[in-house]
Symmetry: C2
Subunit: 158 residues, 2 copies
Amino acid sequence: MTSSSKIHFEDLVVGTVETCGGYQVTRKEVIGFATNYDPQPFHVDDEVAAASIFGKIAASGMHTLAMTMRMLVDNRAGRYASMGGGGIDKLRWTAPVYPGDTLSVRSTLVDKRRIRSRPDRGMAVMRQETMNQHGKVVMTYEFSAFFALRDPSAPFEI
Amino acid sequence: MTSSSKIHFEDLVVGTVETCGGYQVTRKEVIGFATNYDPQPFHVDDEVAAASIFGKIAASGMHTLAMTMRMLVDNRAGRYASMGGGGIDKLRWTAPVYPGDTLSVRSTLVDKRRIRSRPDRGMAVMRQETMNQHGKVVMTYEFSAFFALRDPSAPFEI
């Protein structure tokens, strides 16, 4: 894909919804991630998990976020004239993620704006909703990212 | 540690600052995490990274978040009467994290409040600042979490 054929800031349409995913959550990966990064007993120990609010071993919230990132990167795969991530807001975990679940992400473009201090790029805000195979939303957040302008000399009001 | 000797909602003091960490960031782990969860070329390919804004391979922002979680879990290690995480707000990546860096986290309790709908617990908000070995802040966010009350029958105004 050539640089100019990529999706630039001007091409982004607020309200656009895209769904991607099909991430298979395995017990091995859930325990492996938690062992490395979030070794709270209810993420790695069957007995403790059974007595917890989860009822059985559940994925770390950080793991759900990482799996969501992977689905988004795979879907994006160089299609966008990306200039980096800005931040995450309003991240909430709304339901547990269990081994055996299959995750997908619904991504809605909720805002875009030029940046006075950086005329070569604009910022877009995407609302991400990670869902399980039953369509239940397990995590939501807003992700801000920067996208190159096709024409940085364009009037600021685009 | 007995349950009652743990730190409960009543024991939390707004303004308290705690620092923990000493996480050694290795090239192997940076590339391994990015390969699994954020395989953008500048996180996994030396040549692409050299030409990117990072100048060399840098950790995925999701990896920095995961490493920060690990430091916090290790430090907390059952000392708190925790009732789960609530969410993350205002997450920003402020400087790159490179293999060879050593990370630490400064955690400031910025707010605490009772929850009318759940009298058995209160919510606390912690501002987390992840720093490298030069004291440079590489990531910041606010983390909300729930803590059990020692005495759920206490007047609501504590």
